[in-house]
């Protein structure tokens, strides 16, 4: 299972944090600090994998955002890269040419999309269309209820 998914900018500002294990606020802050320091310090043209404590860290940069996730020993790192890519594709489909600002101003939507894609640290839905479809239907439900 994945333990966390973090999105942060090149200046180290957090844009999204999803935790799949119970950690205290202090522990979460420590993880965020360690991840941003480690990942931002990586020179170019190195692999996307790191070892941190007993977790495998997989990260990928898309434009100005870093997507960083922590995996367990038995998880497949190459597949994790595909998972991150899929999430970016889902965001892109929903927002239309997604950029960092979209995620800043619509962070709750980014979470909703994530919650239709991952759950409990595992992939919930592998279909590209199903995730977007569910979120859009839920959006419609929201609008219908509000006059």
């Amino acid at each position: 299972m994945i333990h966390f998914l973090l999105l942060f900018s090149r200046q180290g500002k957090l844009r999204l944090q999803k935790w799949f294990t119970p950690l205290s606020e202090l522990e979460k802050k420590k993880v965020i600090r360690d991840m941003t320091l480690m990942v931002l310090a990586r020179p170019p043209r190195t692999s996307n994998f790191l070892q941190w404590r007993d977790l495998k860290i997989v990260y990928k940069r898309y434009a100005s955002l870093y997507f960083c996730t922590g995996l367990e020993e038995k998880d497949n790192e190459l597949l994790a890269l595909e998972m991150i890519h899929r999430y970016v594709e889902l965001l892109d489909k929903y927002f239309g040419n997604v950029c960092e600002l979209d995620i800043i101003f619509n962070f709750e939507k980014a979470y909703f999309i994530l919650d239709e894609f991952l759950m409990g640290g595992e992939i919930l839905e592998t279909s590209k269309f199903a995730v977007g479809g569910s979120v859009e239907e839920a959006d419609t439900l929201q609008e219908v209820q509000e006059p």
Binding site: L23, P43, N48, F49, N76, L124, E125, T126, A130
Partner: protein, 830 residues
């Protein structure tokens, strides 16, 4: 007019609507400093707090959303926790959406507040709208505590059986979470798994496979039960590979790689250790391994999982070779991620498929030069795993080159690895020493502390390499004295083998010309250098001292030693004082004490406990009452003795290895001697003709030696001015050439003889060893004796003769006397 008034009143009573989320984000982003941002946030938080206090339902959702944003920026938001619960309880979908999101971000199982959610979730799990049910399942599945899971497991199980695939897939992952939190509940989900794999929906299929995997990993019974699913899983995988293009699941020409990988992982678990299952999946694995497109990351992800599965199950050898070859190809891939993954997998398989991995050794060694730190580390670990007797020379060359150029974070591990490999597979002693030298000179400061004694032991035991080793170490010292482990080993060697160094005896390479003064210069340089640690200084002082028996410039050494007698460093000071004492009072013992170290048996930690002496005397080992000091630091042992005796002025003899066995008895006696001082002796002194008393018996021989009791009659060696000295004899077992003589000094005058020192000398063909006396006060009126043990090695079986010198203070004046002892009984030397 009245309408206008009431209008104003209405407006005044309603607070202005809280600003929208987007508005707040925009505002905060305009802040130019951290302080400005903090001020804005505080203002908004205050507004939100008062809005919460007013129980405003309309804007609660908006306020919590803003709070979540501020929380992401790092500001505290705990006062919003209860508000999240209120939102969850609301009927509006918008409220629920934000409420559940807030709960997942702000609450966790550590706070009791989260339990209040349980009822809401229970209701929402039964809601008429699937999206509400979905929210509840999601929240429970991400952060549900054990208590919540226990309460709601039944609801989840119900939803697992629904035909609604949207809910079914969520229920499956929620069940996974429940099982992780409360493993005992696993059983109740078993019935619902019955036809999970018959689903067409990929979401359900994927989450079902995850659920099955979780159950199989946790329970061997479940594992056995689900083995029957192998054919079905193989079929599903086959369909995925063979099926045509499916736009919603396609990733670069591969259909649903996520599902494929999960199935491969479940097959791995089911096939492990089971012949039939492994057989059943053989074909599909071969198919995936050969047909998967490798140009993109996604194909390689599947290949990677396939290789892991092949290696773990009972696959046929052809398949295993195929898998290793895939990894070999991965190693040559341009993509760093692929190379990294290959090295990791090879590390896992190197134990079981050693030969196959060996074939890729050169590629692996090339990875040592990669720029990526993660790859370098994996390559290093794998290289050490591949070292064996055949490739040791070549591999070590590469690894030493790596040690030279790698980052400091690797050096300690690499150095340890090199030492281990060298120890196991060294083709020759010279090679071994050279390798150690190379490590010490290139990564000397990173070498682990315990390497120093291990290396010293290794060097000692390589007898024929002593000259070569000390020469190389000396040359290394001339270059660089900053690396402490190197300096410590070098000083020890110079102290031990300095004579070989100056005699220019080296066979292996060109002997260097070096004088005693030059060597002493180097060692003294270490003592004064700022680069030397206190431990290093100790090593070099001891080395200088040892050279006093190997070099002729004893005066220089004496000077150095006496200077350090007043060093600020307590350890150095103590050593210097003891060595000084050795020069002054016990000069005759110095050669024996500082002689060459014997070969040591390899032991676990601190140092040798078995000693085999090489100078002709075989001594059984002794279990010392105190623990043995590590090699190279013999002086501290004497200090313990001194402490035991409460600071008596008993000469402190640095008890180096050769003398240890015999002194055991002496120490015991010293304890007892201490007790008897100042009072009547516990046992009256016996006339020489009687067999030794128990007390004397303890002192006259090492504890473990047999007494060759009757046989050699005792004798009186000296009797003058009231001082009588008797000799009693034993044979040291098992060496018959060693005579153990105990002197018993008694005083018949009415005044004590204090500062009593007994010294003895023998002709050149004999060797003499004098152990510590019981005390240096011979009590008056025969109230007690001073005993001391002499060991005489008489290899040529010549007649024993001895010259003795006695000094003491009697009635205030110093007395000194010399005497010859010639009346040894023939049995004592025949």
């Amino acid at each position: 007019m009245r309408c206008l008034l009431s209008f104003f009143v209405c407006v005044w009573q309603n607070m202005p609507a809280p600003i929208r989320l987007r508005e707040l984000i925009r505002t905060i982003r305009t802040a130019r400093t951290q302080a400005e941002e903090r001020e804005m946030i505080q203002k908004e938080c205050a507004a939100i707090r008062s809005s919460f206090r007013e129980e405003d339902n309309t804007y609660r959702c908006r306020n919590v959303a803003k709070l979540l944003y501020m929380h992401m920026l790092g500001y505290p938001a705990h006062f919003g926790q209860l508000e999240c619960l209120k939102l969850i309880a609301s009927q509006k979908f918008t409220d629920k959406r934000i409420g559940y999101l807030g709960a997942m971000l702000l609450l966790d199982e550590r706070q009791d507040v989260h339990l209040l959610m349980t009822n809401c979730i229970k209701n929402d799990l039964n809601h008429s709208t699937q999206y509400v049910q979905g929210l509840a399942l999601c929240t429970l599945g991400c952060m549900g505590s054990s208590e919540m899971c226990r309460d709601l497991a039944g609801e989840v199980e119900k939803l697992l059986k629904t035909s609604n695939s949207y809910l079914r897939k969520k229920a499956a992952l929620c069940a996974v979470h429940v099982i992780r939190k409360v493993p005992e509940l696993m059983e109740m989900f078993l019935p619902a798994t019955k036809n999970l794999l018959s689903e067409k929906n990929h979401g359900v299929l994927h989450t079902s496979v995850v659920l099955l995997t979780e159950m199989c990993e946790r329970s061997p019974d479940m594992l056995a039960h689900f083995r029957k699913l192998v054919p079905q899983l193989v079929r599903i995988l086959k369909n995925l590979i063979m099926s045509g293009y499916s736009p919603e699941h396609d990733v670069s020409g591969i259909s649903d790689p996520f599902l494929q990988v999960r199935i491969l992982r479940l097959l791995r678990i089911l096939g492990k250790g089971d012949d039939d299952s492994s057989e059943a999946m053989n074909d599909i694995l071969a198919q995936v391994a050969t047909n998967t497109e490798t140009s993109k990351n996604v194909g390689n992800a599947i290949l990677y999982e396939t290789v892991l599965t092949i290696m773990d199950i009972k696959s046929e050898s052809g398949l295993r070779v195929l898998a290793i070859n895939i990894l070999g190809r991965f190693l040559l891939n341009n993509d760093k991620n692929i190379r990294y993954v290959a090295l990791t997998s090879l590390l896992k398989t190197v134990q079981t498929d050693h030969n196959a991995v060996q074939r890729h050794r050169s590629t692996i060694v090339d990875c040592l030069k990669d720029l990526d730190v993660s790859i370098k580390r994996r390559a290093m670990e794998l290289s050490f795993a591949l070292v064996n007797g055949n490739n040791i020379r070549g591999m070590m060359k590469e690894l030493l080159y790596f040690l030279d150029s790698c980052d400091p974070e690797f050096k300690a591990d690499c150095a340890s690895g090199v030492f281990l490999a060298a120890e196991k597979y060294a083709p020759s002693k010279r090679w071994h020493i050279d390798t150690i030298m190379r490590v010490l000179t290139t990564a000397g400061s990173y070498v682990r502390d315990d390497s120093v004694p291990n290396l010293i032991q290794l060097i000692t035991n390589s007898v024929e390499m002593h000259a070569y080793t000390v020469q190389r170490l000396y040359k290394a010292l001339l270059d660089d004295i900053s690396q402490q482990p190197l300096v410590q080993v070098a000083s020890w060697c110079i102290g031990e083998y300095g004579d070989l160094l100056i005699s220019g005896q080296c066979e292996e390479e060109e002997p260097i010309q070096v004088t005693e003064d030059e060597v002493l210069d180097v060692l003294e340089g270490l003592l004064v250098s700022n680069l030397s640690s206190p431990v290093t200084r100790g090593y070099s002082l001891t080395a200088i001292m040892k050279l006093s028996t190997r070099f002729s410039s004893v005066n220089r050494i004496k000077k150095v030693v006496s200077i350090y007698g007043s060093s600020i460093d307590v350890e150095l000071q103590q050593r210097a004082v003891e060595y000084n004492a050795l020069f002054k009072k016990y000069d005759h013992m110095r050669p024996a004490l500082l002689e060459r170290m014997p070969i040591m048996e390899k032991t676990a930690s601190n140092g040798p406990t078995e000693i085999v002496q090489t100078n002709g005397e075989a001594e059984p080992s002794v279990v010392e009452p105190k623990h043995l000091p590590p090699v190279g630091q013999p002086a501290s042992q004497g200090n313990d003795l001194l402490d035991l005796l409460g600071g008596n002025d008993v000469p402190v003899i640095p008890t180096t290895m050769p003398t240890k066995p015999a002194s055991a008895g002496g120490e015991l006696l010293d304890l007892l001697g201490d007790l008897s001082l100042g009072g009547p002796a516990p046992a009256p002194p016996a006339p020489a003709s009687q067999p030794p008393f128990l007390l004397d018996g303890l002192s006259s021989q090492p504890l473990f030696n047999d007494i060759a009791a009757a046989g050699i009659p005792p004798m009186t060696a000296y009797n003058k001015n009231g001082l009588k000295i008797d000799f009693t004899f034993e044979r040291a077992n098992p060496n018959p050439n060693v005579a153990v003589i105990t002197i018993h000094a008694s005083n018949s005058t009415e005044a004590d003889m204090t500062d009593f020192v007994f010294q003895a000398a023998v002709p050149k063909t004999f060797q003499l060893q004098l152990l510590s006396p019981s005390s240096n006060v011979v009590p008056a009126l025969n109230q007690g004796t001073v005993t001391q043990v002499i060991r005489v090695l008489n290899q040529q079986k010549q007649q024993l003769r001895m010259r003795i010198k006695l000094t003491y203070i009697h009635k205030g004046s110093a007395v000194q006397d010399l005497a010859e002892v010639n009346n040894f009984p023939p049995q004592s030397w025949q």
